[in-house]
């Protein structure tokens, strides 16, 4: 069953005056198609200048995160039949826009680098792999599924106001290594996340949990980080 949908897209064309405008496209989509299919159809048939990121189109790469009807989601994971007839699409909030729906993710990835997103273990490597029990693996399983699409960090009201805040995505990454039994750098990691703009700026707003395309309970992970920092009696320079 196919139906007409109106795509209202917020355009940003830096070489035009004014650079920002709203464009409307009316296209026919069947109930199995996703917002991303609509965008591809518009780009192919109506307006070739429409710019957006896409890659895998199966919810794995995290390229096509955008704000659809007031909520950050992956365009490749949102079926049009679940949305009203008018679909409003904006780029991810609070990051600088490069063109149309493409935002500059540099700030987002900088946060990620701050939490040391790699395994630190200076013990001599064993003969085979560093072994983890299924239970130990289970503790970090949920956080490993993060695809770093940026939906969570750009949905966070604290991040909108305070660009120095690490954000849910980086904190989740920090959790992934702090609770990894193979990792040894607990002190350094806690040092990295307990600054003035670190984990204490999370106010349990749950916007990140609402938008996460992998349905990770991010706030729960951040709360566990807070509890760990308290348990370790860690003195971050806060004031």
């Amino acid at each position: 069953m196919s139906k007409f949908y109106t795509f209202r897209i917020k355009r940003y064309l830096p070489d035009q005056n004014p650079p920002t405008r709203w464009d409307e496209f009316r296209i026919k989509l069947n109930s199995m198609e996703r917002v991303l299919d609509g965008l591809v159809k518009i780009k192919e048939n109506i307006d070739g200048t429409l710019t957006f990121r896409k890659s895998c189109a199966h919810g794995v790469c995290g390229s096509c995160a955008m704000n659809i009807n007031g909520k950050n989601r992956l365009a490749c994971q949102t079926l049009v039949k679940d949305l009203p007839e008018i679909i409003e699409i904006e780029p991810l909030p609070s990051l600088p826009v490069i063109k149309d729906l493409v935002v500059d993710m540099t700030l987002f990835f900088e946060k990620n680098d701050k939490v040391l997103p790699y395994l630190i273990n200076d013990e001599p490597p064993p003969e085979r792999e560093r072994i983890q029990s299924p239970e130990e693996q289970h503790r970090i399983l949920e956080s490993i599924t993060c695809i770093m699409c940026g939906s969570c960090t750009t949905s966070c009201p604290v991040f909108w106001a305070d660009k120095q805040y690490l954000g849910p995505s980086a904190l989740l990454k920090s959790y992934r290594f702090l609770f990894d039994t193979r990792d040894r750098a607990t002190e350094e990691r806690l040092q990295a996340i307990t600054g003035e703009h670190g984990v204490w700026r999370c106010h349990s707003i749950f916007n990140c949990v609402e938008v996460c395309p992998k349905e990770i309970d991010i706030t729960n992970h951040i709360l566990k980080l807070k509890r760990l920092a308290v348990k370790k009696g860690f003195r971050g320079g806060e004031r």
Binding site: D162, T194, E196, W200, K226, R239
Partner: protein, 104 residues
């Protein structure tokens, strides 16, 4: 971390304190907050202790919250540092005023 944890602890103290404060000052009739009754109560050491803890908790809790707002919303280093001083000094001044009434 300690400042954050202390914010939570003072929060819990305030919930208990407010319960007491509201019941005493508003729900138990006029006799409890006439000048004589209040002055009488302020002379007792246990009430003085309660009031001081209550006062300091409230000031810490409130101004730690404002400190967080300054961290998040104030842009510009100079302005931010100024506001940090403001939210640090006001509670100290108020603590002085508050102590003055508790300990006549």
């Amino acid at each position: 971390m300690w400042s954050w944890l202390f914010h939570r602890i003072t929060g819990v103290i305030l919930v208990a304190g407010l319960l007491y404060h509201f019941i005493f000052m508003h729900f138990m009739g006029h006799d409890n907050y006439s000048y004589e009754a209040v002055a009488q109560r302020l002379k007792e050491p246990s009430w003085q202790f309660f009031n001081i803890i209550f006062l300091l908790s409230a000031l810490y809790h409130g101004f730690y919250g404002l400190n967080g707002l300054v961290s998040e919303y104030i842009k510009g280093n100079y302005w931010k540092r100024f506001m940090k001083y403001v939210v640090f000094i006001i509670p100290i001044v108020l603590a002085f005023f508050g102590m003055k009434i508790v300990i006549f």
